[in-house]
């Protein structure tokens, strides 16, 4: 049985009198513990897919089932609960709270969910144990993104959602971050969904959903994904 299922999902936005279909009747399903990439140019609708999986937005038509739970008709409250317990989010621009230290940023996530991981362990896992009490502004971009990953993992979510996680990083740091995501996901058996326009990242994925103009162009299954250490762009 699939872990994430999109069935005929549509998301329309009303801009003035006109209706824009950001996502237009897409369906796909992803297995638990897989590493997936949603690929597309800007405007292709990939961020909308991410928002829908992440429970930050609800579809205007169709059904989304995650881990057996129908989430397309949840209330704001229900969606918050869903995000809180199931989703770990990694942002393109890290979005650390500047006023909190590395440890505190991770604790921030850990405090609100049911079965969190130990923040110190997670920070050690991303290799920042020596930076524990630094503030975000004292870290490099790559380090900040690692904190962001640690924060997402600390909630012990089932899904790790990453929005262009390497978008603000150089190639070398980017691949290190991707390697980290790949490793921890494998270790902790997380389902990973990365949204990106970077074709090379797609080589890491078991499933690649190609999107264009709000529709899925094709879904490519990749039986032997590359390791993040082997790619460069």
């Amino acid at each position: 049985m699939s872990f994430i299922t999109f069935r005929n999902i549509t998301r329309e936005y009303h801009v003035g009198d006109s209706v824009i279909k950001a996502v237009d009747g897409i369906s796909f399903s992803l297995e638990k513990g897989t590493f997936n990439v949603v690929l597309g140019q800007s405007g292709a609708g990939k961020t909308t897919v991410l928002n829908l999986i992440g429970g930050m937005d609800s579809p205007t038509g169709g059904s989304i089932v995650v881990d057996g739970q129908e989430i397309s008709n949840l209330s704001q409250q229900g969606l918050t609960e869903y995000r809180r317990n199931k989703i770990g989010f990694v942002f393109q621009f890290y979005n650390l709270v500047p006023n909190l230290t590395v440890l505190e940023n991770v604790q921030l996530a850990q405090e609100i969910c049911r079965c969190p991981l130990d923040p110190r362990d997670v920070i050690t896992k991303v290799g920042l144990e020596h930076r524990m009490s630094n503030f975000p502004s004292q870290l490099s971009g790559g380090e900040q993104q690692r904190v962001s990953i640690a924060r997402a993992l600390a909630k012990n979510p089932q899904i790790l959602l990453c929005d262009e996680p390497t978008g603000a990083l150089d190639s070398e740091t980017g691949s290190m971050v991707l390697k980290l995501i790949q490793d921890v996901a494998r270790d902790l058996e997380k389902t990973v969904v990365i949204v990106t326009h970077n074709v090379i990242i797609a080589e890491l994925a078991e499933n690649v959903i190609h999107m264009r103009d709000g529709k899925i162009r094709e879904i490519v299954r990749n039986p032997s994904p590359k390791s993040a250490g082997d790619i460069r762009w």
């Binding site: 930050m56 995000r83 942002f91 006023n99 909190l100 921030l108 502004s137 603000a168």
Partner: protein
């Protein structure tokens, strides 16, 4: 063309931060409207009274002398500084109208140029004609041509109303007796010709000398010389400053000058604060744009002007609106309630202070904006175009206590760090709340200080329920023979000339009371009872202060035989309302005077003795309730002003809170959106933002109380020289203003919470601006 583009940019930027700019605008409106509003009140009084003084050729001194002779008139006119001397007759007369109102009679003649009526209609044409008080005529429905009879010297005389007028002497209605305060239904004035007095007295009679001084002459010195020149014949003397009208005109002017100088300051300060925080934030946000403008080749000055104009436009607009509504609001509401009788209540504007407040508000808005922009301009375009390094999170003091810090939830840590990091914003909201809490606390304090005066005087010091004025011809034995079924206390109220140790010579009210004093309980400023001694006089605290008298000082008192006797000041007591001296009847007799009661203070044992009240010796009675009402009516207008101030303080609180909460929210939208994505509930995020508001409200309240007390003290000290006011802030004042501010904070929180509902999580995904 280029200027236009920048202008449009300014307007769009302002529209984008409309909450902030509306706040600045509202503050500017409040600040300027309070200054111009309160200013226009005293200015109106000043202008109107000056106009009336000029139109009526108002005297500077009135001397009460029975039948002044030519020689006496000449003696007065020879005193240096005296411009003109005239004699006239004045007295209270009963009328034949319903309810027997009393009219104050003044005489005029063809030669008389001083203290003439200010005609509104008609004029005095014949000996049988009269000019009637315009307000009295209005209340009584009388017109020119109507006949009115008055009783003088027990003879009724009838006059035809030939004109209606106002009088400078009756700007504040004054009957010249200690009884009930007159109103226009039961009291007015009437001008008749000297010749008409023949009907009552057989001849023309006079009892007063009116003295007009040369400009710049010292009225006090002239008064002393008149005293010397007239000797025994002199019965009484009043300078314009001490006359009922002159005194209330001056007191009102002083009251509103005080209010307009003290309260608006806070509004200016808060305007500056709000502008400061808004503009610093706006300019910081536009770093890049400033860099672009500089890179494009805009001069430093044009960029400076661009940002200065944000504040300047808002301030100008606010000042204009404030100027339009202030006088109408404050003047329109308060001037007609001043109980001053002017022909009309058209408002006069104090342009000097308006210009001053305009400059001040422009400094608080434009000047502050200028400064906010100025700081950034010295950086190079390249530096400006680079992203500003994000503000560093820093460690705070609290973290040194690892025990506590470790145990705090992250949300508390976040609040603590955030509060400390944004010191500016915290300072702004705390200062803003301090200002408005101070204003509200001060205004409440003013309110109970003023409204407490009558209760203090007539509930704590004087304990009678009725005051009976006697004709002064009966003595204590007569009173005791009447066997009045009541607690009765005899007192003598008079005024005496005293000479202070430093040579100051003044006429002051003297109250003589008996040893048996069940209805007068003098107190000191801590409410401890004060007993009069047999050997010295007691002085009210404020009078002692003004005359620089202290315990043990010797003062000279003028006896009725015109010789002086020396007495010791051995008690100082507290009297909020009228300042004067007290002594015991034993001392009064000891210095050679005879104690005849001028009034009885009475607390009836049930039924009033109507028969006694009809005795010939009883001139007039007045209920304590009426006296309380009279006293309250004098301070009523200050109370309304205080209430308006409380309302404005409330608006101020609201604006400040709204502003700082919105700032606290918008500055952190990205953080908060991130928290939403992480799965924080609305209420958890709301608590984060709103807790900070509550912190600043509480801090502001704490600082607001001493500020309010300080404001109140300034007002208490300068409001009115006749009053000795002690400003006290009660716990209930603090609690009420605290609750009020908290309610505001909650209402504002609802607003902000509503705004937070629209928090877009997708903001978290966008790049840093």
């Amino acid at each position: 063309m280029v200027k236009n583009a920048l202008f449009i940019k300014a307007l769009r930027d302002m529209a984008k931060s409309k909450a902030q700019f509306i706040s600045i605008f509202v503050m500017a409106v409040l600040a300027v409207s309070i200054v111009t509003g309160l200013d226009c009140i005293w200015k109106t009084i000043e202008v109107k009274s000056e106009q009336m003084y000029a139109a009526t050729n108002f005297s500077d001194i009135w001397i009460t002398v029975p039948n002044p002779s030519e020689k006496e008139l000449r003696a007065v006119s020879r005193i240096s500084g005296v411009e003109r001397v005239e004699k006239r007759f004045t007295a209270n007369a009963d009328t034949d109208l319903e309810g027997a109102p009393v009219l104050k009679v003044y005489t005029v003649s063809d030669q008389k140029t001083l203290d003439v009526p200010m005609l509104q209609e008609g004029g005095l044409r014949s000996d049988g004609g009269a000019i009637l008080d315009a307000d009295f005529a209005k209340r009584r429905g009388l017109r020119t041509g109507d006949r009115i009879s008055i009783k003088l010297n027990k003879k009724w005389m009838s006059f035809t109303t030939e004109g209606l007028a106002y009088s400078s002497e009756q700007i504040n209605l004054s009957k010249g007796s200690a009884g009930a305060m007159p109103n226009h239904y039961n009291f007015g004035f009437i001008f008749i010709r000297e010749e008409a007095l023949k009907g009552a007295y057989g001849i023309k009679v006079y009892n007063q000398i009116c003295v007009k001084l040369l400009p710049g002459a010292d009225a006090r010195r002239v008064q002393l010389e008149i005293d010397r020149a007239l000797g025994d014949k002199l019965i009484g003397m009043t300078a314009r400053e001490d006359s009922s009208s002159g005194n209330s005109v001056r007191a009102f002017i002083q009251q509103f000058k005080t209010l307009s100088a003290v309260f608006p300051l806070i509004f200016f300060l808060v305007t500056a604060l709000i502008t400061q925080s808004t503009m610093i934030r706006l300019v910081e946000k536009q770093r890049g744009e400033i860099g672009v403008l500089k890179a494009l080749g805009y001069s430093k000055n044009s960029i400076l002007w661009h940002y200065t104009s944000y504040g300047l436009y808002t301030g100008l607009l606010g000042a204009a609106v404030g100027f339009l509504i202030g006088p109408r609001l404050f003047g329109g509401v308060l001037v007609p309630r001043l109980t001053l009788n002017f022909p009309d209540y058209s408002l006069s504007i104090n342009y000097v202070n308006f210009i001053f407040s305009l400059i001040l508000i422009l400094l608080c808005t434009g000047g502050v904006s200028f400064y906010a922009c100025y700081r950034l301009l010295n950086e190079t375009p390249a530096a400006l175009l680079r992203d500003k390094p994000p503000k560093e999170g820093g460690r705070i003091f609290l973290e040194r206590f690892t025990g506590i810090w470790e145990r705090m939830r992250f949300s508390s840590k976040l609040i603590a760090r955030n509060t400390v990091k944004n010191k500016m914003r915290l300072a702004m909201s705390v200062l803003g709340i301090t200002g408005c809490a101070g204003l509200v606390v001060g205004a409440f304090g003013l309110n109970n200080m003023i409204s407490g005066i009558s209760r203090q005087v007539y509930g704590n010091i004087y304990l009678y329920e009725q005051k009976i004025l006697l004709d002064g011809k009966v003595d204590s034995r007569w009173v005791s023979n009447k066997r009045i079924d009541a607690v009765v206390q005899e007192i003598k109220e008079t005024s005496m000339e005293i000479i202070c140790p430093d040579g100051t010579m003044v006429m002051k009210p003297m109250t003589v009371i008996t040893d048996y004093s069940p209805l007068v309980a003098l107190k000191d400023d801590a409410s401890r009872p004060v007993q009069l001694s047999d050997s010295g006089v007691a002085v009210t605290r404020k009078l002692a202060e003004t005359l620089k008298l202290s315990l043990g000082d010797e003062i000279q008192i003028k006896r009725s035989n015109n010789s002086y006797v020396s007495v010791t000041v051995d008690r100082i007591f507290y009297m909020p309302a009228s300042q004067g001296l007290f002594m015991k009847d034993t001392l009064y007799e000891a210095i050679g005077e005879t104690f005849t009661p001028s009034a009885l203070l009475v607390k009836w044992n049930g039924q009033r003795d109507e028969e006694f009240l009809k005795s010939d010796a009883v001139k007039e009675t007045v209920d304590v309730k009426v006296q309380i009402a009279n006293m309250d009516s004098l301070t009523n207008v200050v109370l309304i002003a205080a209430t308006m101030m409380i309302l404005m303080g409330a608006v101020l609180a609201f604006v400040v809170l709204y502003n700082s909460s919105i700032l606290n929210y918008t500055e952190r939208i990205r953080d908060l959106a991130t928290l939403r994505v992480l799965g924080f509930h609305q209420r958890e995020i709301r608590a984060l933002v709103l807790t900070e508001n509550i912190i600043s409200v509480l801090l502001g309240m704490i600082f607001g109380v001493p500020l309010g007390k300080a404001l109140l003290d300034v007002v208490a000290g300068t409001l009115d020289d006749r009053m000795d006011l002690i400003g006290r802030i009660t716990l209930s004042n603090v609690l009420i203003s605290g609750c009020l501010t908290l309610v505001f904070a909650l209402v504002v929180n609802v607003f902000v919470a509503r705004k937070m509902k629209n928090l877009d999580m997708l903001d978290a995904l966008k790049s840093v601006e």
